[in-house]
Subunit: 406 residues, 2 copies
Amino acid sequence: MIGDIDAEMRKRGLDALMAIGSSTGLDARSTDLFYLAGAHLPRGGVYVMARDREAILVVSNLDVGNAKKGRVRDIRTYDDYGFLQLIKRHGREKAAVMLYDKILKRERIRGRVAILGQGDLSRAIGLVDRLRSLGHSVQGQQPPTLLDEIRATKDERELEAIRQTGEKAQRVVKHVWKLLSDCVVRHGRLIFEGRELTVGRVKEEIRLACARQNLVEIGETMFAVGPVSADPHAAGEPDTPVKPNKPIVFDFFPQYAGGYCFDVTRTFVIGGPPAEVRKMHQSVLDAQLLALDRLKAGEGAEEAMNAICDLFEGNGYRTIRDLMRGIRSAQFSGFIHSLGHGVGLTVGEAPYLGLASREILKTGHVVTVEPGLYKPGLGGVRIEDVVVIKEGGVENLTWLPKDLEI
Amino acid sequence: MIGDIDAEMRKRGLDALMAIGSSTGLDARSTDLFYLAGAHLPRGGVYVMARDREAILVVSNLDVGNAKKGRVRDIRTYDDYGFLQLIKRHGREKAAVMLYDKILKRERIRGRVAILGQGDLSRAIGLVDRLRSLGHSVQGQQPPTLLDEIRATKDERELEAIRQTGEKAQRVVKHVWKLLSDCVVRHGRLIFEGRELTVGRVKEEIRLACARQNLVEIGETMFAVGPVSADPHAAGEPDTPVKPNKPIVFDFFPQYAGGYCFDVTRTFVIGGPPAEVRKMHQSVLDAQLLALDRLKAGEGAEEAMNAICDLFEGNGYRTIRDLMRGIRSAQFSGFIHSLGHGVGLTVGEAPYLGLASREILKTGHVVTVEPGLYKPGLGGVRIEDVVVIKEGGVENLTWLPKDLEI
């Protein structure tokens, strides 16, 4: 949580932070800067905070109004540092370095300064080299970075935002189910509005439903029908017909208006499923219920992942542990990904629930719980909820049914 | 253009490139990696190219299929470098550094390696420090970076993609105009579907129109009504009623399905405009026509910007040049931004047509031409087209009318 920032800085021996980033628009590309500033800055900005002191935020004239909606009280503009004159005199490239130098000096920032933010890597590395040559002790961090840690535990306001996105996201999934149930099956084809239903038509409906709710798809929604669903990241091709009696993996991960995200997967079959898919579904459901049951504050992410691998291996499936043991077929068959990951301003952040994870779950972590099984030639089954980690267990933000059959 | 890459590397004394990035999904966050790989890599990747040699691309198992759709022939996976074993033995953080080290060594990359890509700055700086300590001469760049230059000139395939996005974007603008013309004015209010039309309702309609065409709004669409339009970056508040007889600045900059962008602005008034707005509109239109007429390959971006400032100052308006002369009122009144910027995988890239710009326009540059005038208390006028720079002039990709009155 953002309130832990001074303590986390002390733990890491950091004297100051500087978050930079090109833009925190609707797309929230620089999520660190958005998180720290608490505001959308379409032209980016520079956030500087010395440990145990108030932060300052330097933005373009044009973004002062946006910046004021955020959590930083001391807002300044590039003009306050004579940026235009610097550009005029020294050109844009030199002027940028001089601006950062001025900001750090005027705030009397000494000691170790962590650079945070998302943006252009080449520019940032070039900038850091130049600031170092001017005597600033600026530095990057190996993951988990300070903000990875801080951002992983969500406060009440953030949880409420994730819940809201979750409600909207689940309404979209229900809307798609309704559409699928309204189809008629004719000669093995699914007919909608007089035509065979395609993945492209379903995705158009998803986009329209998102538009109505102000949700943004931050990656391509996965709607994988039949054998292609054996690839956990198959998004589905637009021209593919939606077929009955085939597993359909529907993985949906939208963001609400530049804010917090949600991530939900359901697998279903229209009409009766093949026996093997039914068996896989039962095993995935058992695994998910086990995970939902045992995850809580204090639990090790790796242990949870191992428990799920135990269950799947006990049911006769390969897991990613087999791949680590050198069994190459485990690359494509069985439980071939991690149990989950954090969700917040992104859908891929700390904590990660995987075999290489050394993280201990904490109250306020928000994670996906998404076991899956995949079989080349047949397809995949994945069930994914988003939960909040609490003292004695989890709060599940996902209420969608997990039935296999539509 | 991508074909210029070896020459540009030689010019800059670079022996190799390494582009990294977390994801090039639908949101195309790592545009450098997307540009070089020519493919969407939802889990990111590592692109390495030694000068005058074929590039290699290292991706997750799960993204091999995506990678193959792109332009790199030599595709490898993290597993080919024993990444899972490295993680198991050394933990994820060390393993990542060892992976990059292995990739560079196996490709016999020596000499100066430019790091490119977009992503987490803190991680990238930490990674670069560690690679340097292992003897690699990796480096960032001051803007314009190598890829800023390369990406600025578009090839035929890219131009076609921008044209396509432009067609779709302009259809959305026309759709909004139609909606506005269908409104009736009653007691000074604009009535649509039996209710007073709001900015929020217009934006919902824009989102729906985008969803139908598979366009993504990559920032908040601006629909600024009345005095707030005096702020060139006002997006408009959802509850604001759309009023007749007020200037409306509608700035729309979508991306087509994770690919190329467009950027168009029109200013209009429903019903008769105030005399002063009409005067501003005429001046902005004159300025835009002048710019469209003089821009061509060989023209200096700064000269073009100065010519437009001359015109506006001759018409009695302040410009950003006055701000540089120390006239503070020029911060909010007159022509207070640049003439334009490049458009491609982003809506803010080289070349920049501003006062500090030292760039010479080249064939294949794609830029916005967007003069504007702003008056606090009254509102703003901006007209923005996207053009391709050619030998003798520009090809305008924008065919929407520029009339002030609806």
